[in-house]
């Protein structure tokens, strides 16, 4: 895999979620994603960045622009050292929420991207990786 550029963003508060959203948009444009694909990826990034802040107690978002011809796109990795997710299958179901959300964040984000992977251990944290390519 050829990663053209990579950058790590801190996710601590509301404003950081906005920063990750905006960076994702700029990078998605650079990678040549269509407007609909950009919008889907930015929306998924917003959901997952918020999860990292609210449920993970903060963490990081890593953006990677990759050129694996013919696949050219963007990979985003959200990591936290929060409480983790006990039942991942359940957490991916629409309507499941432990907090004040609508329970669409995880399952909804998965529908918006080409590739979705989640690793989590109770007590150790969560890592969600998503990718969208043209």
């Amino acid at each position: 895999m050829h990663v053209r550029k990579r950058e790590v963003f801190e996710l601590r508060a509301d404003a950081d979620v906005v920063a990750v959203r905006q960076a994702t948009r700029v990078w998605a444009v650079e990678q040549g994603l269509s407007l609909v694909d950009q919008t889907k990826l930015v929306t998924a990034a917003s959901e997952l960045a918020r999860n990292t802040v609210i449920y993970g107690g903060g963490g990081t978002a890593t953006l990677e622009a990759f050129d694996d011809l013919p696949r050219r796109g963007l990979r985003l990795i959200f990591e936290d050292r929060g409480p983790g997710i006990a039942d991942i299958e359940k957490a991916l179901q629409d309507g499941f929420t432990t907090g004040m959300g609508m329970g669409l964040g995880l399952g909804g984000s998965r529908r918006l991207v080409n590739d979705f992977n989640i690793e989590s251990k109770p007590g150790e944290g969560t890592r969600v990786t998503i990718a969208r390519w043209k």
């Binding site: 948009r25 950009q38 919008t39 917003s46 609508m102 669409l104 918006l112």
Partner: protein, 145 residues
């Protein structure tokens, strides 16, 4: 703290969201709008989201909340100007904004609000008693006394 301005036009309140809102700003708008509806006795709320590049589940919930609270306070809400890419994403995300009136443009949104006003004014006439025809016993008893 920064706030999204709310304009008043007659009995309507107008909001144009022109910034990438962080969550607290969205929550503040929800609170401010609800307060203003009650303060001025607004009958309609128009929210222009044509500048919004995304609507995620948090913003979607805020729009649904505003429409719900406005309804309880006897005001109609119309959300206008959603971009096509945003609409596609929103539905795929799983949000259908049930209960939120939408229109393609500010002009069409205003027309909906104005029409709902005219409808509201006609209700007293529609509800006028037709006591001759009624077979409701209490109504009947009252007309005899």
């Amino acid at each position: 703290m920064e706030r999204i301005p709310i304009l008043r036009m007659g009995t309507f309140l107008l909001v144009t969201i022109q910034v990438d809102m962080h969550d607290r700003l969205a929550t503040a708008l929800q609170d401010d709008l609800t307060t203003r509806i009650a303060e001025v006795g607004a009958r309609g709320v128009l929210i222009d989201i044509s500048s919004l590049e995304i609507v995620d589940s948090f913003i979607g919930r805020m729009l649904a909340n505003i429409a719900g609270m406005a309804r309880v306070l006897d005001a109609e809400t119309v959300v206008v100007g959603m971009r096509p890419a945003v609409a596609i994403t929103l539905v795929e995300l799983g949000l259908s904004l049930t209960g939120v009136r939408t229109a393609l443009s500010v002009e069409k949104g205003m027309a909906i609000l104005q029409a709902s006003q005219q409808h509201a004014f006609t209700i007293p006439e529609l509800d006028a008693p037709e006591n001759e025809e009624t077979d409701d016993s209490t109504e009947h008893a009252r007309s005899q006394t």
